[in-house]
Amino acid sequence: MFLDTPFNQNDKWREDDPERFRYELATMGCRTRVFENLHGMKTSWGRGNLSFTTLNMPRLAIEARIKAENLVDDAHQKDAIEMKAKEFFLDGIREMALLVGEQLHTRYEYQCTALARQFPFMMGNDVWKGGGNLNPNSQVGDILKQGTLGIGFIGGHNAMVAIYGEGHAKNQKAWDTLYEAVTVMNQVVEEMKAKYNLNYSVLATPAEGLSGRFTRMDRRKYGSIPGVTDADYYVNSFHVDVKAKVSIAEKIKREAPFHAITRGGHITYVELDGEAKKNIKAIVKIVKVMHDEGVGYGSINHPVDTCNSCGYKGVIYGKCPICGGDSILRMRRITGYLTGDLSTWNSAKRAEERDRVKHC
């Protein structure tokens, strides 16, 4: 977490304030960001994310491209088709984000009717600011105003391939379009905030089950489209294709600008090929680039294997180098989980790990 990135700062933060933690951002869950607030202090403290709903960017892009192809008769007019497809795509994003905003509001109204005693820990311990003062039989109501409502998205990369035939790692037009799409989502967030006076935000969804589910649904509907629906998963939010051969610096530069416009949460990771603890200089350098490019929340993933017999930790090729044991826990990081073993991930996430380029 980069506490000093401009959008992660709170003016009230003072180095000598023993309670400065109140003005420091903390990620909730694996990347959910709760900070800006229409109803009180700008803080993560005593608040949380209420709900988020993720829009399926690849589907909107496929629909936009089909519509554009039907409109532009000459299939050779590549630029004209792309331009039209972009227009339809951005319209689709706006329309869907508005729908999601309304859905989140409806859900919020329902959430407010819950009784305080349904959350004995959260309300009883004042984990939600003000919840401790509630009568156990009264509705939680306005207490939830502190919470955030996230409009999320998945598959920015796949959507750009659907429109341009290339992802935003390599194609500048694709990058600009994706950035514009997330900007449109931010405009909708501002409109929803004004309409309902609630803490809406744009979330770079940390999709888990969804990464496989949307892809399967779209493959059924549109068939297997190369680079769009032909893998077992959609690429996460604004991340460049996990298979793209881009350098560490390039990946960070491509993704960092999206952090400032996904205030509901985000992450940029790089994958290393070896034991990070043996090469601190490399780690420091990567952290510095992330900082300088404006990353809000970054991760450096590196393999850590543990021998189940003797406890040796390191990168283990085949058998344990210490005791020769062959029961090895292979820990990798994906959507925030470190505790597991590759064998416990869902099939879409295992497919993604297999495809991820080690930046080496």
Binding site: G274, K278, K281, A282, K285, Y312
Partner: protein, 162 residues
């Protein structure tokens, strides 16, 4: 002709920082327990053509994040006559600090003029054969305890801190 086994554009395994690693084919040491015995064959991989060398140098120059370049293999010292002009080009055109792995010991290298001349373009030499009985997984950037990371003074082509 030199043969290239492969390159790693950003690795943290072959020396300090983020490095560009170049693996060259051919090795005369044939250490027991070698990870890549196929790399002993001097024609393993693909021919290192001028086009390939240009590509490598451009890729290094285009990456602002790199801390240096590492030569490994095989043993880059296997074919010193052909390694020298390649090494010199990389050193002079990229200006990066150079780590180089070899199965020869420093003391052997300085006795042989063909090998010794390579040291003028190397900043860190990781020397000595891999000895399976001295293997330890706790060593940073080398495999067995007999091996050493030696800082070379490029001006004299000798140890920087003898």
């Amino acid at each position: 002709m030199l043969y290239l086994i492969g390159t790693y554009p950003e690795t943290i395994l072959d020396g300090e920082g983020i490095r560009y690693s170049i693996y060259l084919a051919g090795c005369a040491h044939h250490c027991k327990g070698c990870h890549n015995p196929e790399s002993w064959n001097p024609q393993h991989g693909t021919p290192l053509t001028k086009i390939e060398i240009d590509r490598i140098i451009k890729e290094i120059a285009d990456n602002p994040l790199l801390d240096g370049v590492t030569f490994s293999g095989g043993d880059p010292f296997f074919n010193p006559e052909e390694f020298l002009p390649f090494l010199r080009r990389v050193k002079e055109e990229t200006g990066h600090n150079i780590w180089c792995y070899t199965g020869y010991c420093y003391e052997e290298i300085i006795q042989q003029p063909k090998l010794r001349v390579l040291l003028y373009y190397i900043d860190m030499l990781v020397d000595g054969p891999f000895m399976e009985e001295q293997f330890s997984p706790y060593l940073d950037f080398y495999g067995s305890k007999n091996q050493r990371i030696l800082q070379i003074d490029p001006k004299s082509g000798l140890l920087a801190n003898p």
